[in-house]
Amino acid sequence: MSDNAITLLDAVNLAMARALDEDPNVVLLGEDIGANGGVFRATDGLQARFGERRVIDTPLAETMIAGLSVGMATQGIRPVAEIQFMGFIFPAFEHLVAHAARMRHRTRGRLSCPMVLRAPFGGGIHAPEHHSESTETLLAHIPGLRVVIPSSPARAYGLLLAAIRCDDPVVFLEPKRIYRASKTLVEDNGEALPLDTCFTLREGNDITLISWGAMVQETLMAADRLADEGVSCEVIDVATLNPIDHATLIASVHKTGRCVIIHEAPHHGGMGAEISATLSEQMLTSLQAPVRRVTGDDTVMPYYRNEQLYLPDVDDILIAVRETMEYSG
C-alpha cells in the first residue's frame, strides 16, 4: 500500500479539509468537532488548521445544529454539520423536512439551502444503545433532501466533496463499521463524484446484488464466495438513496434477471422495498426469480452484546442468492 492509502474516515476528513481550503464559505459545526476532532476523529486537526471560526463546537442541541445550518445556508454559507451518531438525528428532523428540504421550493429559487448534515450510522462497533441505528429510509422519503452513503474511501472523498458543493441540502451518512475497515489509495485531487448515479463495483451476469453502506463489504465477500461456486454476481452500491439511480439498477437486473437487495435497516418500509417494488413493477416478465431482500429485522437494534444477532451476514446473503439462483417458477 502506498502512502496515500487511507481509510474511509481519513477520506471524510480529507474531503472536508479540501472543501474548507477551497471555499471560504464552508464552515463545519457540531458537538465535539473542534479540539476533540469529533468522537470518531472525522474532523481531527481541522480546527487547529482552519481556526475556531471555520470549525465550530456547538452547544449540545441537535435541533439547534440543524436550525443554525438552515439559517447560515440561506446566506451563502455552506455549513457542514455533524450529528454525533445518527441515533441523535431526530431533533433535527423538523428543520430538515420543513425548512432545509423546502427553502428553495418555498421561495421559488430566491433562497437555497446548501447544507450538509453528516452522521455516522449503522451497527457493529459495540457501541451503546442508539449508536447503531440505520434510519436512512426516513430521510430518503423526504422530497428535496438528498441522501448519500459512501461505502469506500474513494467514494467517501468524492461524494462528500460533491455534497458540500451541491446547492441542495444533503444528508451524508457514514457507515462507521467500515470507517477503518481498509485503506485504499485516494488521490486528493478535488474531484467530486456524481450524486445521481449508482456505482457498479463488480460486473456479473447471473444475479445483481444491490446494497449500500457497510453491508457492501459483506455483499462483496458473498460475491467472492459465489464466484467460487460459479455464480457471477453484479454488485452495485446504490450510494445515493434520494434520488435513486433506478436506471442503472434496472439495466443490471435486465441483464441478470435476478436480484438480491441487502441492507442493514429494518425490512418493513426500508429502501429495499422501493428498489424491489420498482424492479418488479418495471420488469415483471424479465425477472427470472422474485427479488429478495436481506435486511435487518423489524425490531429494535439490540444492545451491543447481541448486535451480531441482528446484523445480516455473508451467510444470509449466500443463502438468499443460492435460493434465488435455484428458483424455478
Binding site: A66, G71, M72, I77, A98, R106, T107, R108, G109
Partner: protein
Amino acid sequence: MHTISYQGEIRLTRYLNDRGTPLGEMPDWALGEQPWVGYYQQMVLARQFDTKAISLQRTGQMGTYASLLGGEAIDVVCASLMQTEDVLVPYYRNHAMQMIRGMPISQLFLYWGGDERGSATPEMKRDLPNAVPIATQCLHACGVATALKLRGEHQAVLTMIGDGGTSKGDFMEAINVAGAWQLPVVFIINNNQWAISVPRSKQCIAPTLAQKALGAGIRGEQVDGNDAIALHEVVGQALERARAGKGPTVIEALSYRLSDHTTADDATRYRPADELKAAWVREPVARLRNWLHHQGLWDEAREQAWQAETKQLIEAAVADWQAIPEQTVDELYDDLYAECPPGLAEQREQARARQQRRVQKGGKHHE
C-alpha cells in the same frame, strides 16, 4: 452557608397611557414629527391591508389568513428601525414588517392566496420567507446572524415569535446559542396573550416571558407593544447593540390579539368578550393617533386623506395580484432541487399530461 451567585431583573418601558397621554415627562427625542407620523401612516396601512385580507377570505377569494390586528405598532416600529441590509426572519403575522421591508402588497396577497411565488420577490432580498412551524425561525435567525458574523458584516437580524412559541425548545435553544456566541439578533416576542385558545398564563408561570433571557445570560426586557414610542426606544437600542457587536436581546412586547387566531378560528369559543373589549381600549393605532393629535401632528383632514389613499393602494395591490397568471404545473417540480433529477422530471412529464387531461375535461385550471 448561603451566598447569592446571580441576580437579574426585567425592565418594562412605557411612555403613553392607554389613551395616548404621556405617563410622565416625555424625553426630548420623543418630541417633533419624526418618525411618529410615518409610523402612524404605516400602521393605518397595515390595518387596511388586514381588513381587506379578511374580506377576501370571507368572500372565498383567499384561504386561511392570520390577522395582524393589534400588532400594528410592533410590526411597524421594528421594520422601520431595521436597515436595508439587516435581515428579517419573520413569523406568520408579520405582514406589515414584510411590506415595510419592501415586499409588494400584491405579493402578500399572492402568498396568502396559497401561492409559493409570494415568497419569491427580489425585493425581499435576503430576508427569510414566511413559514408556519412555530419557533423554528428563531434558530434560523441565529444561523443568519452567524453568517453575518463570519463575514464580518455589522448588521442585525430581527425575528419575531408569539407568546405560545416561547414554550417550544427552538426558542430557548436559540436564545441560549445567541448568548453563547454573542450573536447580533433581536428576538421580539409578540405577547398577544393568546396562542390560539391557550392563554398566556397557561404557557408559563413566570410573570414575564422576557425573563427567559436571563436563563440564556442575555438582556431581556418588556415593552408596551401598543406604545410606538416605547417600542422605538427599546427596539432601536437593541438593534444598535446588535450591530455594534454587543450581543442579542429578547424583547417581550405586550400586546393583544384583537382578532381571531386566523380566519379559520372562532375566538368566541374560548375568549371572554369583556377581555377583548378591554383590550380595544388599549389598541395601538388609536393610541398613537391620540398622541399625534395631542402634539398637533395630525388632524381629521389628514386622517381622511390617508385612509382614502391607503384604501386605493390596497385595491391596486389586489388588482395587481389578480392579474398574476396561475403557476404552471412545472413549478411544482422545479425549484425543489437546483437541477430537477431524472425521476422527478419524469413525474413532471406525467403531471403535465395529467393536467392537460383535466383541462380538456373542461375543468378549471384548479380543482
